[in-house]
Structures are given as structure tokens and as C-alpha cells.
């Protein structure tokens, strides 16, 4: 069985971001980028499944500019067997990414597609679900435990939902998105980084995959949240009610 893992190159979680002066987005020039933490967890889970003998190959795929190759190399250093880089010069919204992944799945025929539950730059939490819908495959999102039963071609997934944990049984092929508590991703060791240099990364274009990238959504403006105003200490309950009624308009 082959596992396809989609990884995204995002602004590193520890970096302080700022909005570009023209308000078209977040300034990503000269800013440290890394693999999305949830994608690392997804890749780690795929590698563990392969090491347990349930899969033969783990393929990492990333969609974006040429620097995505660095992210794929990190994935290869963690243990993925090969990488696919889909060249794209602008950033895409989840539906476009899902369409691209659908085309790739039709080419690669994986038994499982792993994604992180959401990317830390847009917090969309949509791509995995959209891929499953486009492919007509079952989906198990926010996975905190994945157990494969290879004979039955079924995966038992514990999902972290608002009410607690939900256990699903999904037939393979399926789409699984990973949550924080699923595993602790491994470090890429120096010898593995060296070996990863010789692992192949296939470049593909959007024309190759025949994907229509026209988006129905356009980002109009990005602004910083308003600065927090300092609190006011009120002297009596009446004053509090007055402020709630007349200033905050909440009662």
C-alpha cells in the first residue's frame, strides 16, 4: 500500500508575524518557514505505519513555490521515500489544493492520504475534508489514534471531538487528518538528511494535473486585530450596568 502525505510550508510557529503595509496579506519575506506542525504529525504517522509493515511507500507532496522543495527534503529526511513538488507561484485556497490532491491521488493510487488537520497560517481545517469529498472516500479527521487492520482494509480511528473521543471505522482507501496528540514527530537526523539528498523529488505542474485553479474566493483585505484597550475599574454595580448598556451595548 502507498501512503500519500500532503505537507505545507508555512511561517514557523515561533516567528512574530506582521501584516504587510498594503494589507494584502502577511509579510513572508525574510521570515523563517517550516513544515506545518500538523503535517509533521501526519508524516510521522505515515512513517510509523510503514515501519509496522502495513505500507510499502510513503510519498510526500507539497504545493507551492520552489522553496517547497526544502520542506519536502525535511520530509524525506524524516523517512519519506520520495517527494512530489507541484509548482505553484501563488498561494491557493483549500478547494484548489484539494482538487490538486485529487488529481494526484488518481495518478498515484494511494491506500491512505494523510494531512494535518489544519495549517497554522490560515487555520482553515478544510483541505482534508474536501479531498475526501472530491474522491468519494471516507474521512476521519482530528485523529488522535490510528490502528490499521490490513486484512479488512479498514482503519480504526479515534477522533478528538468537542464532546470527547469518537471512534470511527473507515474503509480504505481513506483520508485521515491528524491532530496534536496523535504522535511526537521524529527529528531528522544528520545521516538521514544526507541520505535524503539523493531521494527523488518529482516536479509537476498544474497543467500536468489538469487542474482548474480559478478560485471563487478573493482575499480583499488583511488587517491586524484591533489593539486591546486597557480595562476600566468601575466603582459600583450601577456604573457597571450603565457601561454595559450604553457603552458596550450588550444588555
Amino acid at each position: 500500500m502507498k501512503i500519500l502525505v500532503a505537507v505545507k510550508r508555512v511561517v514557523d510557529y515561533a516567528v512574530k508575524i506582521r501584516v504587510k503595509p498594503d494589507k494584502t496579506g502577511v509579510d513572508t519575506q525574510n521570515v523563517k518557514m517550516s513544515m506545518n506542525p500538523f503535517c509533521e504529525i501526519a508524516l510521522e504517522e505515515a512513517l510509523r505505519i510503514k515501519e509496522a509493515g502495513f505500507a510499502k511507500e510513503v510519498v510526500a507532496v507539497s504545493i507551492g513555490p520552489s522553496q517547497c522543495v526544502d520542506t519536502l527534503r525535511t520530509g524525506l529526511a524524516m523517512g519519506a521515500d520520495r517527494g512530489i513538488h507541484v509548482e505553484a507561484n501563488s498561494s491557493f485556497l483549500p478547494l484548489t489544493i484539494a482538487k490538486i490532491l485529487r488529481s494526484l491521488a488518481e495518478v498515484e493510487n494511494p491506500g491512505l492520504i494523510f494531512l494535518g488537520k489544519q495549517a497554522i497560517d490560515d487555520d482553515c481545517n478544510q483541505t482534508g475534508q474536501m479531498v475526501a469529498a472530491l474522491l468519494g472516500w471516507p474521512q476521519a479527521t482530528f485523529a488522535s489514534k490510528v490502528v490499521l487492520d490490513n486484512d479488512k482494509h479498514v482503519a480504526t480511528v479515534d477522533r478528538e471531538v468537542d464532546g470527547g473521543l469518537e471512534t470511527l471505522s473507515v474503509d480504505l482507501p481513506a483520508v485521515i487528518t491528524t491532530d496534536l496528540r496523535l504522535n511526537q514527530p521524529r527529528y531528522a537526523t544528520l545521516p538521514n538528511i544526507m541520505k535524503a539528498k539523493s531521494k527523488p523529488i518529482k516536479k509537476m505542474t498544474l497543467e500536468d494535473l489538469k487542474v482548474d485553479i480559478k478560485s471563487d474566493i478573493e482575499i480583499v483585505e488583511v488587517t491586524e486585530p484591533p489593539k486591546r484597550k486597557s480595562g476600566v475599574i468601575v466603582s459600583s454595580v450601577d456604573e457597571l450596568i450603565d457601561k454595559l448598556k450604553n457603552e458596550a451595548h450588550v444588555v
Partner: protein, 635 residues
């Protein structure tokens, strides 16, 4: 074993008949044991211009404790210092459970200006002489340039020698210095003085950006650079010669136990090892002590300063690209050496910083807070108003100059850049001399590996070079300030206009920085104003802008040699100076005001101030897990 030999000989026959490469393969076979070999010569680095050249080194895997021991012939390999506590003994155990070893011709520790210049020079010499040497650079920052912070008004002298066509290669050196202003600050005024600097021909740059560019150039030439790996110890052979470094184990939790994702460090060996860790490099300091490199040439101790810097994006109308301003005086008192800088870069950005010499006497001095005060000075404030801070950072720098240069060659390698200490203090520039020292060491290493010469040629060539001439001429400026601000300024003027270093004497440095601190009861506490959140900020806000981070679940990389000294000495006698000079608020007194030290190692900016200034030298800065620390990109 036989299968392996056959494999190697067949691959070696495909190499060019280069005696160097062939002999290297032969050397590998000897220490390996039959049962544990899974080596496979793999293709070399993926640098684009080169054809796939067979590897000239490979990895051996050791699965058994005995093989690891046998491979390391020396019992001293497990540790090189007496300061290890519980945590290190557990690391030693892991080292026997299978540490990999990788060999290179030249290993460079640190991807800064010196390290990368050495790598580039080595590869250039290889190309010119049609041979190949494998060069590896390890860097503790997550990326090349992540730990690089400097003023910086760049003198391109060394770069012109290294890469003469840098102007046509999109180097991030674009803004020529257009003016040299020098102000003496009082609380409210800025008095213009004739500038002692002449920056004509120099450029206002971000050193972090330049180092990233140099890293790209080094990789193009075939250097292997591995960011995210910190060199935690030096490896020696049976004859006490340096053979390489070991990277730090990853995935050890705070209590010393191994986490789920534990990975033992890797031994990286070099036939020549160059240490380019920057000012107060943790391994370089150990090497200097071990081989007594200062005593060998009667060098004095090194003296240091702490530089704290911010990059601001300011109003277009106030921005004047290329403007270079230096100040002296306020907010520092006449007994404390230091000053500030304000450089206008491109993109409406300015670099603003305060440098405070670490031999200050008053333990209540807080360099970070002094910097916050500086920003409220009318002359500085008017530039900053309406602007935003983009990044913040801090780093110590050398001020010892000529008098403190140690003998930089040791058995197995050499020390280059600020780890040795080539900063020209009156010019306040160290980048060009660091780069040149890297180039000279590379030439010596090439001679040693290719022609069998001695690494001592590095020292000889250093003394024949412009680095030596420059540092010799500049040697008396800084020590003159031991006598006070006015005598210092007077001597500086004399040196600059008349003497130019041509005097028969060399002034000496005063006490070492950590010994210069007076007792708290003899000094007056300093009251610092609260930050206003617009021009001045509290430390956590500034720290956020340095993008610094470490995995919190790891042992603290700041080691106390004696854990009782902070409460027995630092707190009562010196009022806990570490809680004042650390620009990252790593050291904090216990919340209840009790003299218990709390170390927030996760905040560390890797500036090394604590390693330098702690009165009893009780704090030892060691490397944390690789990839942690600040993420500078504009500094």
C-alpha cells in the same frame, strides 16, 4: 567484511586515480567491526553544478556497545569537561547504544562570516587545483543566518578578495554609507563632534542577509551545510588531537530521560576542524583553555561588550539610506564604556543599538534598560516616532583586540573569526577581519591536507596580513578608557590624528569583565523608568520580536557549576547581576523575593553575556538542542 571490501574497491576504482581519495577509503576499513556494518557509499551532496561524484566518505552504523568503544580509542571521548551533572552521564550511556560517525576532510563549526568564508575559500582552492576535499559546516541555528546579528557597516575588503564579482551576483550589499555622524549625548542634547570614523566605501547592510547569501555561495561550490545541529563536544583521539565534534543528543526531556523521539547525536570528524562559533564560542573556549592558547603567545584575557539591537521600520520622510550615526555619553555614565549606533538601511529600515562594555562596575546596571532609555532621547526619538519595531536581538562582541588574540592553531585544527577575536574596536568592525581569518585558515588547511604543510602557516599568514596591521594600529584605543572617559577620548584623538598606533608601548586591559563588578553595597541602585509600549518595551515584548524559541522539554543548557553560588554569593553580594544583564530575562529571582534563581532557558538569545559576566564564572553556557534560539533575518 569481505563483501564490504569488494564494494569499496570497486567504487574506489571508479574514482579518479587520486591518491588522496584512495587512501581515505583505505583508512576507513580498519576500525570497523564485521557484525555491525551496513555502510553504503552514497552519492554526494546534491549541489547542482557538479556531476554525481561518488562519495568520499560514508557512514558506519554501530549497533553494539563494544564496537563504539573500540572505534573510539580514547577514554576521554565521552566528555571533555568536569562540569557534567546527572544529565551528561545519561548522554554517555546513549553514546554506546549506537552513535553514527561521519567523516569529512574539513569540518567547520559555525556558519557565520568566518566559517562560510573558510568553506568558500577551500572549495575555490580545490577547483583551482583540480582536487576535491569534502567540507562540512554545522550550524546550531535553524537556518544559516538565524543567529547572526551585527550593526552593520560593512567594509568589503575581505569580500573583494574572496568573491571579486559580488557586485554582479545579487549580494545583499546595496546601500553605501553616505554620512558619518558622531554625537555626544547628554540627557536632552546631542552635541555633534568630528567623526572618528570614515566609512567611505563601506555599506550599511544586514549581516544576517549577507551570511545567508554567503551560505548560498558556499553550497553552490559544493559545501555541505547542516543547520539545526549544535556541536556539543569536541572529540579527541588517543594523542589528544582534535578529530571532530559530536552533535547534541536530541529528544532528552527536562529530567534527563529519553523521550519518545530520542535521537543520539552524531560524531562528525574532520581531518582539520575549524571553530567559527563567534564571540565566546562554547567549544572554542574549551579548546583555548585545554591547549593554553593564550599563554602560548602571552596574550591577555579577552574583554567583551554586550550589544542590544533593534531593527525599526520608520517613516519614509525620516529615512535617509546610508546615514551612519554613532553616539557616546548618555545614557551611560562616564565610567562605563559604550555607545550607540543608528544606521539607515534600505526599505525604510534602520538598525538601532546600544553597546555596553561588560567590565562595568555597578552590578545594578541593566544594559537592556539603558537601551530603552536611549530611545527616548530627543535626537533618537524623532527618528523612531511613527515607526514599528521589526526585530530585536542581543549578542556579546570582543573588545580585546590585538592584546587578546590567542594562538589560534591547535592539534587538529584552528580557531577563526570572533571565537579567536579579530574585531577592530575603534572601527567597531569585525566582519571583514573574521572573513579574512577564515580565508587564511582555509589556505593553511588546504596546504596541510594537500601538500602536507603545517597548520601553523595560518598563524604566520595572519601576522603577515592586513588583519594584523589593522589590529596592531588599533590596539591602544580601548585600553586607554581604563583611565576614564576623557583620557580615553584624548588618547583616541591622539591615536587617530597623530600616532596611528606607531608608539613603542601597548596598553594593557584592566581586570577581566567578571572580576570588574563591584559589590552591590558599594554601588547605588539605578531606577529605570517603566516602558511606554511605543518607544520602549518590556523584555517579553522584545523577546517575542527575536523569534527565539527552544523546545521547553529539554535539560537547561545553562549549567551552574555550583548550584548554591547564586543564593550564597550572587544575590547577597552582587544583587543578582544575571537578572539585570541578561537581555532575555533568562535569570529571574524567585517570585517571593527569596534568593532562589530560576533559569528560563527557553528565552535564551545565545548572547553569552552570562558566561562572561558571572562574578564567579559559575554559569557555563552550553549548546541547547540544535534549531533553537533566535531566528534573526534582518539583523
Amino acid at each position: 567484511m569481505h563483501k564490504l571490501l569488494v564494494k569499496l574497491s570497486s567504487s574506489s576504482s571508479s574514482f579518479s586515480s587520486n591518491p588522496l581519495r584512495h587512501s581515505k577509503n583505505q583508512r576507513f576499513i580498519l576500525p570497523l567491526l564485521p557484525s555491525s556494518i551496513t555502510s553504503n557509499p552514497f552519492t554526494a551532496s546534491g549541489s547542482p553544478p557538479r556531476p554525481s561524484i561518488p562519495a568520499n566518505r560514508f557512514i558506519s552504523r554501530f549497533g553494539y556497545p563494544c564496537s563504539a568503544d573500540l572505534f573510539r580509542k580514547s577514554p576521554t571521548l565521552c566528555s571533555n569537561s568536569t562540569t557534567f551533572g546527572v544529565i551528561w552521564s545519561s548522554r554517555c550511556i546513549s553514546s554506546e547504544a549506537g552513535r553514527e560517525s561521519i567523516e569529512y576532510d574539513v569540518l567547520i563549526v559555525g556558519a557565520g562570516p568566518a566559517g562560510l568564508s573558510a568553506a568558500i575559500r577551500l572549495k575555490q582552492l580545490c577547483q583551482q587545483n583540480n582536487i576535491d576535499l569534502s567540507v562540512c559546516v554545522v550550524e546550531k541555528g535553524a537556518e544559516v543566518g538565524a543567529h547572526i546579528i551585527s550593526g552593520n557597516v560593512f567594509e568589503p575588503l575581505a569580500l573583494d578578495e574572496l568573491l571579486p564579482h559580488w557586485r554582479q551576483q545579487q549580494a545583499p550589499i546595496e546601500i553605501p554609507a553616505s554620512s558619518d555622524k558622531f554625537w555626544f549625548l547628554t540627557k536632552d542634547r546631542a552635541i555633534s563632534l568630528p567623526s572618528p570614523f570614515d566609512n567611505k566605501g563601506n555599506y550599511v547592510i544586514s549581516l544576517s542577509q549577507l551570511v545567508r547569501w554567503l551560505g548560498g555561495k558556499a553550497e553552490e561550490l559544493g559545501t555541505e551545510i547542516y543547520p539545526g545541529f549544535s556541536a556539543s563536544e569536541v572529540l579527541y583521539d588517543a594523542s589528544d588531537k582534535v578529530v571532530g565534534i559530536a552533535t547534541r543528543d536530541m529528544g532528552i526531556s527536562k529530567d534527563g530521560s529519553k523521550k519518545e523521539n530520542f535521537q543520539p547525536g552524531v560524531d562528525i570528524k574532520g581531518r582539520v576542524t575549524l571553530f567559527a562559533e563567534g564571540c565566546r564560542g562554547s567549544l572554542s573556549e574549551k579548546i583555548i583553555k585545554k591547549y593554553k592558547l593564550r599563554e602560548e603567545v602571552n596574550a591577555q584575557h579577552q574583554t567583551y561588550a554586550l550589544g542590544i539591537k533593534e531593527v525599526w521600520e520608520i517613516d519614509e520622510s525620516k529615512h535617509n539610506p546610508g546615514e551612519v550615526v554613532h553616539t557616546l555619553g548618555w545614557p551611560l555614565d562616564p565610567k562605563t564604556y559604550g555607545g550607540s549606533f543608528l544606521y539607515h538601511m534600505n526599505d525604510r529600515q534602520i538598525a538601532l543599538g546600544l553597546v555596553v562594555a561588560l567590565n562595568y562596575k555597578n552590578p545594578f546596571l541593566n544594559p537592556y534598560e539603558e537601551f530603552q532609555k536611549l530611545k527616548h532621547h530627543p535626537a533618537i526619538k524623532r527618528v523612531l516616532e511613527g515607526g514599528t519595531v521589526l526585530q530585536y536581538g542581543a549578542r556579546t562582541l570582543n573588545e580585546g583586540g590585538f592584546q587578546s588574540i590567542p594562538y589560534p592553531v591547535f592539534p587538529g585544527g584552528a580557531i577563526i573569526g570572533c571565537s579567536a577575536g579579530f574585531l577592530n574596536v575603534p572601527k567597531i568592525k569585525g566582519t571583514h577581519t573574521a572573513m579574512k581569518s577564515g580565508m587564511l585558515a582555509a589556505e593553511a588547511a588546504f596546504g596541510a591536507l594537500h601538500e602536507g604543510l603545517n597548520m601553523n602557516t595560518y598563524w604566520d599568514n595572519l601576522r603577515d596580513s592586513w588583519v594584523w596591521k589593522e589590529l596592531y594600529a588599533a590596539r591602544n584605543y580601548r585600553p586607554a578608557f581604563e583611565y576614564g572617559l576623557l583620557p580615553g577620548l584624548a588618547v583616541s584623538a591622539m591615536e587617530h590624528y597623530v600616532l596611528k598606533g606607531k608608539v613603542p608601548f601597548t596598553l594593557k586591559h584592566g581586570k577581566a569583565d567578571h572580576e570588574a563588578t563591584d559589590l552591590a553595597r558599594k554601588c547605588t541602585p539605578i531606577e529605570y523608568p517603566k516602558p511606554d509600549g511605543v518607544l520602549s518595551f518590556d523584555v517579553p515584548t522584545s523577546l517575542y520580536r527575536s523569534n527565539t524559541n527552544h523546545d521547553h522539554d529539554q535539560p537547561s543548557h545553562l549549567r551552574l557549576k555550583d548550584p548554591k553560588i547564586p543564593e550564597k554569593l550572587n544575590f547577597p553580594e552582587y544583587a543578582a547581576p544575571e537578572s539585570r544583564y541578561c537581555p532575555a530575562r533568562v535569570y529571574v529571582e524567585d517570585e517571593e523575593g527569596k534568593p532562589k534563581l530560576q533559569i528560563n532557558a527557553q528565552n535564551c538569545l545565545h548572547c553569552k553575556a552570562c558566561d562572561i559576566k558571572d562574578p564567579k564564572q559559575n554559569i557555563e553556557w552550553t549548546v541547547p538542542e540544535g534549531g533553537g534560539g533566535p531566528a534573526y533575518s534582518l539583523m
